[in-house]
Symmetry: C2
Subunit: 215 residues, 2 copies
DNA sequence: CCGCATCCGTTTCGATACTG
DNA sequence: CAGTATCGAAACGGATGCGG
């Protein structure tokens, strides 16, 4: 791999050399969730080959973004972990996420969703001004399984976190519908009547849902 | 080109599909400076081939980040211009720049510098708290020519802009030295004694220079 | 000269198979 | 589990050509 891909003394070009290769940013995204094994990362990134993932992890290690840690027996495996320099990419990744949400719709067939990725997207949409004090469990139905996140409104704005804790209401829909509701393109009551959304819990909560996000 | 490179419903993956190809972010960086002709962009990006630049501009147009405008005679040429969606990338690019500055040093041989890129880097380093009310012209000497930006401290923090207006002092040095001064790795007085930096104007200003940036 | 299209040798990628 | 080996396909950089 050409180490010096762009002959420019420019910070953006330097960033692109380190994290601009195919898959690299998505690998960092996974490692931001915590140390991960080779197979764990590969399992999340459908389509990446073992050889390319090896190359990328090696390059990230050389660039000082990732360290490899050998776990003691009985674990006896290797994990890849972000360094401080790697974690420092988080603001840039969040900015790219905020920009990228506009392209999430339309949802494409056979596309995979993980709750971590859904959380990223909803966080980018979340309002920072005071929002209705409601809590929701957002469940997105996939062909093979469901993923869920928790969305909570409050005086400090909307927060998005892992699902688990009880909530006022649970919304169940496919990805396209849920993104429509979040982005304000779909009206909750209409989606409910149309049978695209299932609501468990407090029925009055549903109308507040769009107010938790920037339309 | 595979349009759907990552089969993931993730905003970061979507962003990477649109701007993650080689050269693409650097093309957007150039167009953020204003509408540009094909040849202008190509002239700034040493190493990009005409065919790849054509592909990228076409892809950016299809993605809605760029529009092509045909100028009337006597100009009679085409310019590429960012749309609102394209300009919306600026925060993400700035975040990547802020992260990338750490890799600017060491400067590599035969690397090109443009004043716009220098401005990006110094802006990322600029302090946002009140800084000494001094103005500097920063001139970076290259083998073939010199580039310059203007750095001004004040109660609202440091601002970096195009060179031109007069300033309290002018610093002239090569790129490596200048980045050393900005990053706090070099002490101004020592660099001056060592002959690595030339100072025109108020000699007392020099000691304030590092205070304009986050070390 | 400007904006591309085409050709060609090299690099990189993705899929599969294989190994300690 | 964590990669390595291999191989055809795609992408890339550089050169050339060509219509406007």
């Amino acid at each position: 791999m050409a180490r010096f891909r762009y002959p420019q003394l420019c910070a953006l070009a330097r960033a692109a050399e380190v994290v601009g290769e195919r898959w690299t940013l998505l690998i960092v995204r996974e490692l931001l969730l915590g140390p991960r094994r080779f197979t764990d990362v590969k399992g999340r990134l459908d389509g990446v080959s073992a050889s390319v993932l090896t190359q990328r992890l090696l390059a990230l290690e050389e660039s000082g973004l990732v360290v490899r840690r050998y776990l003691e027996p009985p674990a006896a495996s290797t994990v890849y972990e972000l360094t401080a320099a790697g974690r420092a990419l988080e603001p840039a990744i969040n900015a790219l996420v905020s920009w990228g949400v506009r392209a999430l719709v339309p949802v494409r067939p056979r596309e995979r969703v993980e709750s971590d990725w859904l959380r990223l997207a909803l966080t980018a949409w979340a309002r920072r001004e005071p929002t209705p004090a409601r809590s929701f469990t957002v469940r997105v139905r996939q062909p093979r399984r469901e993923v869920a996140v928790r969305v909570v409104g409050g005086p400090d704005g909307t927060t998005v976190s892992e699902a688990g804790a009880p909530s006022d209401a649970t919304l169940i829909a496919d990805a396209q519908t849920m993104l429509g509701l979040v982005s304000g393109m779909l009206v909750p009551a209409a989606a409910l009547r149309g049978g695209h959304v299932r609501l468990d819990g407090d029925p009055r909560a549903l109308d507040d849902f769009p107010a938790l996000f920037n339309a």
